[in-house]
């Protein structure tokens, strides 16, 4: 009897950070103080802060900088590195600014001989275990340990430096590579995986100086339930975690004259790749990037937003057919439809909710749709031998590397996408080629796929897929313009960084069934009119970060509010793809907000804003996917199936 056939467990995972490491909630105190203000003096600045605010936050509010290492804005507190120690009145020992709550008037001194010595000692001790040289590390010049060492004037290894590695590097996963020789045991990855993402792959194991961050029984990452979201990589302060970098192979392909190397670029890298060149977060450099990529040697530069538009049409149509099956034919167990473009979310679903896989849209992600089309439609159209095409995708995502290697992703007859490359890795390639990306002349994307609509662009933000789908579905069903239903065609309720968003959309009127659906009507998958949607209210939800995905899925399982939804967008990464595991490091709420702002701003400025208006996509249906959306060719090239994996490790 196979364990994977057992029904999934009903017990919700309730792992929570330890009580004192959640945002400080003081159970008892003087009633007049709670909610009140407490006076505090930090260095020579006097201020009043809310009861329970940490010293670090109080210092930030008046512009006093205290160095940190294990502290991270997105994560629960740790207080383990001891870098941020400060002098606090009435305390015999130094206190960590990141965790110490201000509950009574105190005086804080952020520097003193003891503090300086303590910080230096912490760095000396970390360096005594940190194996690796900066010049050969991919975090050279972007490493928090390196920055602190410089700040504290580390000029010799006071307590020694390892000459040999202690641990094997784990390269088993397509997406994430772990080098524990560089680990500083800040526990950020553990807090990310358990608390932030609710996946629970990493833990601190053993004790004392044998403490090591490990997976279950120290198995290789590919053998445990890692969803490849790479959020751990984004938050690691140094080079212990990285993505699996294929750029050597891509250079080899580019340098090989017999290979036709094409690159498709996702929306999120454009608003973030500038950060790797010193630009502030949220500076969009799309067209400069196109030129830079061509100069690197890519033969064609395509816009993944085009297949994002294609995904919207396919997935929107799939939604309509599911609605038809559910509302008219009474079929059960097919709603809500869940998006499937986030491979981290897909793997999460395959492991933790395998019995709900039928709810996942059968649409591939835009990356994989493109991969299939490049080696068929594009190859035929251009007269290129598909076996000589090397298809690279530039993604904000580490899980795309895993997705490209899924065995079913070969509908072109070849491996649809050869390499997934992250924003960071592409920036590295551009730099290696001596290209100054921000100052490149602008250029458009290559035909036959051209430039895409704004709806495809907003895929990069959480709520973007939903908004793009709503813009199209509303127009295709009501016959109205999206601008008549939502101001500027912007669907505000699904935007923003709330973990779970919910929206109800009453269908205001019914228009004609578009010609695009002629085949589906003929086959009985849709009615010749929209009457069956009369008076319907479309219920949608958006969740980002797999911890929120878990909450929504548990609610669906319990028959709650989200079970009544029709369509739910899931993104594995907090913030959506713009916060993906392949994006420039560091990440923080403000950086992600800046990237989102850039994406929505670029969308507003584009001539086309709805997926079904994209002429290149429509030509695709004319020339290649002649059966129309969700037709035979679409199913062959653009749709996929999933693998129920379950979460039994043993």
């Amino acid at each position: 009897m196979s364990d994977t056939n057992k029904p999934a467990p009903t017990r919700a995972v309730t792992s929570e950070p330890p009580t004192t490491e959640k945002p400080q909630v003081v159970a008892a105190g003087k009633p007049t103080d709670i909610g009140g203000q407490v006076a505090v003096k930090i260095d020579d600045i006097e201020l009043k802060v809310p009861f329970g605010m940490t010293i670090l936050e109080a210092a930030k509010s008046v512009g006093i900088r205290i160095p940190t290492l294990c502290y991270h804005e997105d994560l629960c507190l740790a207080g383990v590195c001891r870098i941020c120690v400060v002098e606090v009145s009435k305390q015999r020992t130094l206190q960590t600014a990141c965790t110490f709550p201000i509950t009574e008037p105190i005086t804080v001194t952020t520097t003193s001989p003891r503090v300086r010595q303590a910080r230096r000692h912490v760095l000396d001790l970390l360096l005594s275990k940190h194996y690796g040289e900066c010049y050969s590390c991919f975090r050279n010049n972007n490493c928090e340990l390196q920055a602190l060492a410089k700040e504290y004037g580390v000029d010799f290894y006071r307590f020694g430096h390892p000459k040999e590695p202690r641990h094997e590097i784990d390269r088993s996963s397509y997406a994430v590579v772990r080098d524990m020789n560089k680990c500083v045991l800040c526990r950020r990855c553990v807090r990310t995986c358990i608390d932030l993402q609710s996946v629970g792959v990493l833990t601190a194991a053993h004790r004392s100086d044998q403490t090591k961050i490990e997976t279950f029984m120290d198995r290789q990452l590919a053998d445990v339930i890692c969803i490849n979201c790479g959020q751990c990589i984004n938050r690691c302060p140094c080079g212990a975690l990285r993505a699996n970098d294929p750029s050597d192979e891509i250079w080899a392909a580019i340098d090989d004259p017999a290979k036709h190397v094409v690159v498709q670029t996702a929306p999120s890298p454009r608003a973030a790749i500038g950060e790797a060149f010193g630009l502030p977060p949220g500076t969009s450099v799309t067209q400069e990037m196109n030129t830079a990529l061509r100069r690197c040697g890519f033969d064609r530069v395509f816009d993944t937003n085009t297949t994002a538009d294609l995904t919207i049409i396919e997935e929107g149509t799939e939604l309509l057919t599911r609605l038809y099956r559910a509302l008219v034919k009474g079929e059960k167990g097919i709603l809500p439809q869940l998006t499937s473009c986030s491979p981290g979310w897909v793997k999460f679903c395959e492991h933790f909710y395998p019995d709900y896989l039928p709810l996942l849209s059968t649409c591939k992600s835009p990356q994989q749709m493109f991969g299939a089309l490049i080696k068929t439609y594009y190859a035929q159209k251009q007269g290129i031998d598909p076996s000589s095409i090397v298809s690279v995708s530039l993604m904000p995502c580490s899980a795309k590397k895993f997705e490209a290697n899924r065995p079913e992703m070969q509908s072109s007859g070849f491996k649809d996408v050869d390499y997934g490359l992250t924003t960071r890795e592409m920036a590295q390639m551009v730099k290696e080629a001596g290209i100054d990306l921000p100052h490149m002349p602008k250029s458009h994307f290559d035909l036959p796929f051209g430039d895409a609509s704004g709806a495809g662009l907003i895929f990069g933000a959480t709520g973007g897929v939903m908004e793009a789908a709503i813009r199209s579905v509303v127009e295709l069903v009501t016959g109205l313009k999206a601008e008549e239903v939502f101001k500027d065609a912007n669907v505000e309720p699904v935007r923003g960084f709330d973990g779970i968003k919910y929206m109800e959309i009453p269908i205001p009127q019914l228009g004609p069934v578009p010609a695009l659906y002629a085949n589906l009507v003929r086959k009985g998958k849709l009615a010749p009119d929209w009457e069956w949607l009369k008076g319907a209210v479309l219920k949608v939800a958006v969740a980002h970060g797999t911890a929120n995905a878990r909450k929504v899925m548990d609610d669906i399982r319990a028959g709650g509010k989200f079970a009544e939804c029709h369509f739910i967008e899931f993104m594995a990464c907090p913030g959506g793809c713009l916060g993906g595991g392949g994006q420039p490091i560091p990440t923080s709420p403000s950086i992600r907000a800046a990237r989102a702002k850039a994406i929505y701003a670029e969308d507003m400025g584009l001539p086309l804003r709805k997926s079904h208006e994209n002429p290149h996509v429509l030509r695709l249906y004319d020339e290649f996917l002649t059966d129309g959306p969700c037709g035979e060719q679409s199913h062959k090239f653009l749709h996929t199936h999933y693998t129920p994996r379950g979460d039994y490790l043993v």
């Binding site: 017990r11 995972v13 792992s15 997976t215």
Partner: protein, 172 residues
């Protein structure tokens, strides 16, 4: 592990978890019960405990690997823990340690091939006025000398059997 053993282990863990209302604070008593019965906490057991308490298997592994009395590798039927702190050191624990290694043919940290004895150091057993002290499972032995070592080991070798009850007070 036989499939039937898995089934019975799964049932046991479910019962134990039920006793603690499937809450995380039942973790230590449950793990201790499994360690007591099976002499180690297998991968499968850790996963089942995780499932029953609503935590991740990696977290259970993190807990098991932290404590000296819990192990992911099978320990011997009798775990010998010799105190190595200062007072027992002064009282002559070194000689006892050498004798134990001689008699058992293993080094500290290892288990005999017949899986009968595991030999470990431990920290202060609270018998500092009667050192050197050691534990064999839950039995305490004080003022142990190299000569006594072989008597102690013999006691456990002879009475090895399914009905041997491992309770006892201080000996010595």
């Amino acid at each position: 592990m036989l499939a039937s053993e898995r089934e019975s282990l799964r049932r046991e863990i479910a019962e134990l978890a039920e006793k603690y209302e499937h809450k995380r604070d039942g973790m230590m008593p449950i793990l201790e019960a499994i360690q007591e019965k099976y002499r180690y906490i297998s991968d499968f057991a850790m996963q089942e405990v995780a499932r029953q308490l609503g935590v991740f298997p990696a977290e259970v592994y993190g807990v098991v690997s932290f404590y000296s009395y819990l192990s992911t590798e099978p320990k011997g039927r009798f775990v010998i823990r010799l105190c190595r702190n200062l007072s027992c050191e002064f009282a002559g624990k070194q000689a006892v340690a050498r004798q134990l290694e001689n008699e058992l043919g293993i080094c500290f940290g290892e288990t005999t091939r017949d899986r009968l004895f595991t030999l470990e150091y431990c920290n202060c057993l609270g018998m500092c006025d009667h050192g050197p002290a050691l534990l064999v499972n839950d039995d305490v032995y004080t003022e142990v000398s190299p000569e006594l070592v072989s008597d102690i080991l013999e006691h456990y070798r002879r009475t090895f059997g399914p009905t041997y009850a491992q309770k006892g007070g201080s000996h010595g």
